[in-house]
Amino acid sequence: MTVVNSSVGSAGRRPRGTDRQSRAGIAFVAAYVLLLIAFGILPTGYAIYFAFTNAGGTFTGFSNFISTAQDFRFMDAVGHVALYLLFWLVSLVVFVVSLALLLHRLASGTVSKSLRFLFYIPGALAGAASVLVWLFMLDPTVSPVSSLLGTLGFHTFGEVIAPGNLPLLFTVIAFWTGAGGWIVVIYGALNNIPQDVMEAARIDGASAWQTAWRVQIPMLRKWIVYMVILAFAGGAQLFVEPQLLSLASTGVAGRDYSLNQLTYDFAFQLNNVNGAAAVSVELLVVSVAAAAVFVARSGFFDAD
């Protein structure tokens, strides 16, 4: 995971350097804006154009949206992604926040540092590679934890990847690969809670649990909302996990599982790029709408 810090936070603190600093700031932002336009805004515009036209470029209104929604796999994929998002977001919020709080409790520097490192390692692997690791973990014949899988009643790869297990499997894989970075981020946010607030809580006799529940978590609210918004957008685009699983299981599990896989099918198997664009625009609208709700309800942009 790459963390791009586009902060120009200290601008204005030193009056003398303001000019040079604002120029440096513009330079940083400009690079970002350039990439945003090239890889964000233009492709989005291109997709929207495709979504409302046919292969010949004539405007067709919502017909691409209607025809793709009528595909027999569409509603299944919507259901799969919704269930996965539920599992993934709940587990992310609960486990990331509690692990970060736990990490913060550990006063000892070395333990905390090595744990942070440990949490972060899976995130350092590139997406597809970390999914491949799991394909080995989940195959009882080669898995290092095959005895554990055996006690759970799984003796072959086919049993592990039964359709009912998939949302849970994808959640576990996504959590393992993606949560480490968030634990580190939330841990950093915890360190930003002013010492005097924590001390006041201690003097008032708040237990660790009370401090976490009444002081730390409310003060982390914006970070958690931020995490949920990005995780929602990422989760709605579920692709690598089911796609690789589908290749590894020669199509038994994970083919046409998510909406994003469906767009891939539309574009490259059915040669229907316009239909694919329509589904991707739907994903964009849903993600942006969800983000808007979260931002509005949480007062995300309110000044502290």
Partner: protein, 453 residues
């Protein structure tokens, strides 16, 4: 994943500057994008299609890992030809890599390979629509050569009477067996499916753990149900298919498989699974499977020692007068319409599909070109790996049931997603036949096929 951490403090740059910068960026990007759309050069109509102006330069050939040897051998024998050999997955397991790439090349207007190998035999079904595959029987390849391919071998390449690809190998199913083991147990090779089922029941009782077959692969229906003349995939026109899994031909075979799966004389792991390799590799007594099982499965994957594996004709239903068998894949070679080296490409194509130097001496599968196949069989006998001659293969070559076609949708993918999970959960195949038909119908329709029963 990229996480953009927004700044919490305000960032107000001078408005004018920012606007100018934005405009500049937008123009730059637009220019880059528009430059991607290439112009079309003038073409000449020859050999049945519009040919691009011919140029000198390297011939680009896409092959999978197995066919890499063929391209290298060609290079060795033709040092004067400039060859650019690109390795890809060969579309194995219906990965659709080639189709994906061709769709992208069609958009950008460049990048197509001149000649490409695919391990799937349904490429013509989309490559013709996509304007990629060049017609081969309109002047590029002479009728005499085409006539020497095994009967029906190039059917999968033929659309509306025009041949759009050449078959690399045939994958007719036969009955593979372990000859010394069968002798040791005192059994004989079954010639009917009824005998086959009885033998499976005997093995389950007398030698539990040993296998008479495997039904765990995505191509299982192409071995058993195709051989049984089950009409699940009858392509009746360019965009029409007839699907009927309720016929007796289907239910009889499904019931046979269910009995043998239940008594565990038939594996449900799949011959390429880690599970099979680890636990069942030395338990194979009989195994219906395509021609390439001999080399690719028994010799190379399961490492069965020499002088054990033999091939017999696949069993038939009692009283059935016209013997039939199934087929699993069998690669094809396509030539690009967009090639600017058509002469060199045609030479390569002819050599790789017909020349004995590759097809007879090096090819791992049963050549589709009949004269090469004869020489190939002699070579296999001489190699001494098999416990019998492989004449069963040449008999089966002309017995592949012609009413199972190659549509644009992947039958293997449909079986894998619809029936395989149920088999794992212990459901019977017979009970899943309606769901299978339903799934084939849905996939066919979403690919634009007209479906009848």
């Amino acid at each position: 994943m990229t996480v953009n951490k927004p700044s919490s403090s305000s960032k107000r740059a001078s408005g004018n500057k920012r606007a100018a910068l934005l405009a500049g960026c937008a123009v730059t990007v637009l220019l880059t994008v528009s430059a991607c759309g290439g112009g079309t050069a003038s073409t000449t109509n020859k050999d049945g299609f519009a040919q691009a102006p011919q140029k000198d330069g390297a011939l680009t050939v896409w092959v999978d890992a197995t066919r890499m040897d063929a391209a290298k051998l060609y290079q060795q024998q033709h040092p004067g030809v400039k060859l650019d050999i690109v390795s890809y997955d060969g579309d194995a397991n219906g990965s659709n890599y080639l189709q994906t790439k061709v769709q992208l090349f069609n958009r950008t207007g460049k990048g197509w390979p001149d000649v490409v190998f695919s391990s799937q035999n349904n490429e013509a079904s989309w490559a013709v629509d996509a304007g990629f595959a060049a017609p081969l029987n309109k002047g590029l390849v002479d009728e005499a050569t085409l006539g020497k391919f095994a009967k029906g071998a190039n059917d999968v390449c033929t659309v509306g009477g025009t041949v759009y690809c050449l078959r690399n190998d045939l994958s007719q199913a036969v009955l593979w067996y372990n000859a010394p083991l069968l002798k040791k147990f005192g059994y004989t090779v079954p010639t009917t499916w009824e005998e086959y089922q009885q033998l499976g029941e005997k093995v389950a009782k007398e030698h539990p753990g040993y296998l008479v077959g495997d039904a765990g692969d995505s191509f299982t229906p192409e071995i058993y149900l195709w051989a049984s003349k089950c009409g699940a995939n009858h392509i009746t026109g360019p965009k029409a298919v007839s699907v009927n899994t309720a016929s007796e031909a289907c239910t009889k075979m499904a019931n046979l498989l269910d009995v043998l799966i239940k008594n565990k004389s038939m594996s449900i792991s799949g011959v390429f699974s880690t599970d099979f390799g680890k636990n069942q590799a030395d338990k194979v007594l009989l195994m219906p499977g395509p021609a390439w099982y001999g080399g690719a499965v028994f010799r190379d994957t399961l490492k069965v020692p020499a002088k054990q594996i033999a091939a017999a004709p696949i069993p038939q239903w009692q009283g059935d007068g016209s013997p039939s068998t199934g087929n699993v894949g069998g690669g094809t070679w396509l030539l690009s319409q967009h090639s600017t080296h058509i002469k060199a490409a045609t030479d390569f194509l002819k050599w790789v599909t017909t020349d004995n130097a590759y097809q007879a001496e090096k090819a791992p599968g049963f050549p589709a070109y009949a004269p090469a196949a004869e020489a190939w069989l002699k070579g296999q006998d001489a190699s001494g790996y098999f416990a019998s001659d492989l004449s069963a293969l040449s008999t089966a070559a002309s017995q592949v049931w012609p009413e199972w076609g190659s549509g644009q949708f992947s039958q293997e993918a449909i079986w894998a997603a619809t029936v395989k999970p149920g088999i794992t959960q212990g459901k019977s195949i017979a009970s899943m036949l309606p769901a299978w038909q339903d799934s084939i119908t849905k996939y066919a329709k979403s690919n634009g096929y007209k479906v009848s029963q």
